[in-house]
């Protein structure tokens, strides 16, 4: 049976879904490999093998192709010894195999200076900062959002201010956070908190408001009011949407990590990336970026899987 691949809003078979999911990674990898291994696609530079009689060339040096060709032309005209080299990509675009090796070596290489951290230490630190920032934000933001979505009075009392604060860029509070909370993890957690909290209140309030009002009415005719309505209808009614919101918000929290880790005593995975870029270890940079992606994707997959277990009534309802 040959079902069409492109049918509007029709599910594909699970084999096709898996195939496409794999392809979504294979395509970018393929492009990257082509650019890295096939010389005539890009390779704008030349790695010098023998300097010849060009006085400023050194073996292993990267020069622009045009410069290299020019030098060769001049030397050829003068009949002197020519430099040799191979075409390469710039140092900031390492090939897949280099990054793959770096994925391993980045963990096993000792930090260059004593006060710097190993990659796994940096990672652990980052995850901790994210966790606490997101946890504290949710601890206040979720209940507040639910109340604002349920009671107009709470909504009017909080949302105008939250709406205003939401537009203030979280990074702007960096210096302030350091002044108040010191230079270690506390100000970083504060930045994640500020970046997440205000969005969270609004998103949760909106999700709460989207609960079908006829369900509330039905519950009221069954005798539910106030606390009963909140705990037996509103919260379970929005739980699955809330869960989805939290997954998205957690993604946002990661984006504030970059800012958070630059303030105070720099630390964490993004600091690791900056340091490695400074040393021109771009393979390590790519490896670290990949690790962030892998962590993010795995958490999300685990959360999605958990969501299906937590809300079994949702599965068929959506299909």
């Amino acid at each position: 049976m040959n079902k069409p691949w492109f049918a509007v809003r029709k599910e594909l078979s699970s084999r096709r879904r898996t195939f496409l999911a794999v392809m979504s990674f294979v395509f970018p990898l393929l492009v990257w490999s082509l650019v890295s291994y096939v010389p005539f696609i890009w390779h704008p530079q030349v790695e010098v093998i023998e300097a010849g009689e060009v006085d400023y060339f050194r073996a292993g040096m990267l020069v622009d192709r045009t410069v290299f060709e020019q030098e060769r032309e001049t030397l050829r005209a003068e009949g002197r010894e020519l430099p040799t080299g191979t075409r390469t990509n710039p140092v900031y675009l390492p090939a897949p195999h280099e990054v793959a090796t770096a994925l391993y070596t980045a963990f096993s290489t000792e930090p260059q200076r004593r006060n710097e951290k190993w990659l796994h230490e940096s990672l652990a630190n980052s995850i901790q900062v994210i966790f606490w920032g997101f946890f504290l934000s949710s601890l206040i933001g979720v209940p507040l959002g639910i109340l604002a979505g349920t009671y107009v009075a709470v909504s009017r009392l909080t949302e105008p201010f939250v709406e205003f604060f939401r537009y203030l860029p979280a990074p702007a509070f960096g210096a302030l956070a350091v002044a108040i909370l010191g230079i270690h993890d506390a100000p970083k957690i504060a930045i994640i908190f500020i970046g997440t909290f205000f969005q969270q209140v609004l998103v949760v309030a909106n999700t709460t408001r989207k609960l079908d009002p006829s369900l509330l009415e039905a519950a009221m005719t069954l005798g539910a009011r106030n606390a009963g309505l909140l705990f037996k209808v509103v919260i379970p009614g929005i739980a699955s949407d809330l869960y989805r919101d939290m997954r998205i918000l957690l993604g946002w929290a990661w984006t504030y990590l970059i800012v958070a880790e630059m303030i105070g005593a720099s630390s964490g995975i993004t600091w690791f990336i900056t340091q490695q870029a400074r040393y021109k270890n771009f393979d390590n940079v790519f490896a670290a970026i990949l690790i962030i992606g892998i962590i993010g994707l795995t958490t999300d997959l685990i959360l999605a899987w958990l969501g299906r277990r937590l809300f079994p009534w949702q599965r068929a309802a959506r299909a």
């Binding site: 069954l222 809300f311 309802a317």
Partner: protein, 306 residues
């Protein structure tokens, strides 16, 4: 309509007349006095209900019927306490109604089951809220589920049920609270004809077996006559009581009565009330008519459908 020799819808056989006499001796459950409800909208205020008066007696089945937009839903929502009213009184057992409560069960036209709760848990909600222990609530809920014949589906989620089954759960859920009165707003409106007929049968069966007074909204004339002791006919703009008809069809009801002279006489009367002969042209003048031009291609193979 073919003109049949029919009795007047007011003619009642001695048994039916006697039943109505006894019915009216029963205690009054719900009393509506001078109920008026206006909505304030951006376009000005709309009078949805104007000076509605009626009362229902214990274990009576009242249907409310009327053209679309005449305020049937508004009426039943007001009785449930979901809308507040502008003036007048709604009394349940002589006490004024304030806000929604478990003493008035409601079944909505849309399926309002809680999708995250199983059938059993849906029925249990009212009992939980009333402070019943978990086991007691569960036991009671299962009895009500059994009453509507859904024992096999007690642990299913609403999305796994058909429309008719969902409404049966909604009925069980409302009844589990043992309300004084069951309010139903076109509960079978979204069902197909066969399911609807079956549901009407179930509902009458349930009504026969438990002490419940029913106010049932519908726009289906047959449904109203088949189910009701009395039919409250509303007219639109503003919603007012046009007539309170005592249905002369003997109880208990069965589908064979759908063609009995009493049934047809009542139906003719309802049609007169709801679609009065002059109304058609009146609406036409108001522009509520299809504005058709022929849109068949000149070279169409089939020129006319007749």
């Amino acid at each position: 309509m073919i003109h049949l020799e029919l009795p007047s819808y007011r003619d009642q056989s001695p048994e039916v007349a006697d039943r109505f006499r006894r019915l009216k001796e029963r205690p009054v459950i719900l009393e509506v006095k001078g109920l008026t409800k206006t909505f304030d909208t951006a376009q000005g205020s709309v009078t949805a209900l104007k000076d509605i008066n009626f009362c229902t007696h214990q274990r009576e089945f009242v249907c409310v019927i009327g053209p679309s937009g005449c305020g049937k839903s508004t009426l039943v929502r007001t009785l449930a306490g979901l809308e507040d009213y502008s003036s007048g009184e709604v009394l349940l057992d002589g006490k004024p109604v304030r806000g929604p409560g478990p003493d008035r069960g409601m079944v909505f036209q849309g399926y309002t089951l809680f999708p995250w709760r199983t059938v059993k848990k849906n029925v249990m909600l009212g009992l939980e809220l009333a402070g019943r222990s978990r086991t007691a609530a569960e036991e009671e809920a299962l009895q009500w589920i059994d009453l509507v014949g859904l024992t096999k589906f007690a642990n299913s989620y609403p999305h796994q049920l058909s429309g008719g089954m969902k409404q049966r759960v909604a009925i069980a859920r409302a009844l589990a609270n043992q309300p004084r009165i069951l309010l139903m707003d076109e509960p079978f409106g979204a069902l197909d004809a066969q399911t609807r007929a079956k549901m009407q049968g179930y509902l009458l069966e349930i009504w026969k077996n438990i002490d419940i007074t029913v106010v049932f909204i519908t726009h289906d004339l047959d449904e109203a006559i088949y189910l009701a002791d009395r039919i409250l006919v509303l007219k639109a703009h503003p919603g007012e009581v046009q007539e309170l008809i005592e249905v002369p069809v003997p109880q208990p009801r069965n589908p064979s009565q759908l063609l009995s002279p009493e049934f047809l006489a009542t139906k003719r009367r309802l049609e007169e009330l709801i679609h009065p002969p002059g109304a058609e042209t009146e609406e036409g003048v108001n522009g509520d008519r299809l504005n058709m031009v022929r849109m068949v291609p000149v070279n169409a193979k089939v020129e006319s459908v007749f």
